[in-house]
Symmetry: C2
Subunit: 295 residues, 2 copies
């Protein structure tokens, strides 16, 4: 075919995918071309805007390193990550809701024992986390992998701090026979997503702020259950209603209670005020997914 114009080119491009061996890839490319072309037609994209878009995508790719993933940030700030999360986690009624992974997870975090202190050199208000992993039928889930990561008291993750040599405020626990895990850390703080790059440029040009409310990330992996990637948010945070990545769910907000100096639940003597989070995570059994809700 020849002589494509703005009306017939979309069908011609889609036709070029007709021999794609993998039917799933064929479906994805067909839909991608249709929606991408619809967008370009809808806004009548100018050549200067197209050039800007090419340059923007290129710069976004160049910013990515093993410590920073600007395309994930872009997906997060455009709400795409939360949309993918929602589509893929139609969990059983009563199961803990999922939310975005974010760009700061690190594969194979350091193993930590029941009751460990993962503060390292980080300074901040002590936080004792007392969690339990349950199955959707209420039974405890033993030996689940519980990966934890969160920001420091200034709002930074360890991977953003080049002077840190060891993973900090980041660990892998295993739930005990009663499904429990416990550890000491410090309170996380609200923080801006990295906004000195292309995503920051987009947020600034759109008069959007880059902040996320304070939270602790969890990824919980247990045999026979759907993997749960979620956060626990700190109640009262000023950014709960305007999270830059659209990840807040009411069911994930917890009271991080204020505790007086004295004896902590693990028998440790503590001289300063401290905080406590007591929370359950309820895992959906594999195959217990809800089907897609009606649009």
């Amino acid at each position: 075919m020849r002589d494509f114009d703005e009306n017939n080119i979309t069908a011609a491009v889609i036709d070029r995918y007709q021999n794609t061996p993998d039917p799933r890839l064929k479906k994805i490319m067909t839909s991608l071309v249709q929606h991408l072309h619809d967008f370009v037609r809808d806004v009548e994209l100018t050549e200067a805007e197209w050039t800007h878009a090419i340059d923007y995508l290129t710069r976004t790719g160049k910013l990515c390193t093993d410590k920073r993933q600007e395309f994930i940030l872009l997906s997060d700030t455009l709400g795409v990550s939360m949309l993918v999360d929602a589509i893929n986690h139609r969990f059983a009624e009563g199961a803990t809701e999922s939310t975005v992974m974010g760009p700061f997870y690190v594969q194979n975090p350091p193993e930590a024992a029941f009751g460990a202190d993962i503060r390292g050199e980080a300074k901040g208000e002590p936080l004792y986390i007392d969690g339990s992993i349950l199955s959707e039928d209420g039974k405890p889930v033993a030996n689940a992998i519980v990966d934890v990561w969160h920001s420091d008291a200034e709002g930074f993750y360890d991977v953003q701090l080049p002077e840190l040599e060891e993973p900090t405020l980041r660990a892998r626990f295993h739930s005990d026979a009663q499904g429990r895990f416990r550890f000491w850390t410090i309170m996380p703080r609200y923080y801006p997503i990295p906004y000195d790059g292309t995503v920051g440029d987009m947020l600034k040009a759109s008069a959007r702020h880059p902040y996320r409310p304070a939270h602790v990330h969890f990824m919980i992996i247990a045999g026979g259950h759907e993997t749960l990637v979620t956060h626990v948010f700190v109640d009262g945070d000023q950014y709960l209603d305007s999270d830059a990545v659209f990840a807040v769910k009411n069911s994930l907000i917890r009271d991080f209670t204020r505790e007086a100096p004295g004896i902590a639940p693990d028998g440790k003597k503590i001289d300063t005020p401290w905080r406590k989070l007591q929370t359950n995570f309820v895992l959906s059994k594999v195959m217990a997914k809800k089907s897609a809700p009606a649009a």
Copy 2:
């Protein structure tokens, strides 16, 4: 707002752009979010597919250098470049049609005199190009900038050949008082777009070939007229009906005539068979654009 699900998140993200100072950016971001989310919902993108897409975009960015622009190739092979071209070049009736710029244009090509030979060290069938620049009213356009670039006899552009130190098969001419330009070069060949990268991966997975039919690129800039970015295609090429970037228009195909050894039009004696292209370019006057055709 909190508690976004797959149905309400799109409106929530769009709402976040309501204070965008530039109305054009607000329109673009609103449309982009709507179409991007519609695509994700349409295919019910899985997390593994999302991860693959993040990685694909990242690798595409990393491939870009000052000599290679993989995002332009991606735009070209998805038909987006031709769509943007069509939307932005609703030229006057009778004007030469535009087509894609492609990734091989280089700013400020070397100046060349009327009648110059731009072959450098390149070997191939000699080609004499005899062109004229006209305005839409048929009058010649003097002193137009005529940038020319094309592949060699193996299908490579100079920027793809690291051993070349000088620009080759690439020049800037100026039309004379009668609107004419003339030069010697060699016949271009059909060629694959670079397919050792992410765009090549996409083409292979989709059983699409990477070839473009043989052509010479022109960009023509003249006061009072719309800039024309176009190709002249070689009639008879086997890829005219399946150009990997959807750029062929029938009105841009020319007979590159086969000529016998003897005396060339510029008086030069030539001992081998050679080819001749005689062609006009008709420029649209500024402001003479057609409005958008009805869809």
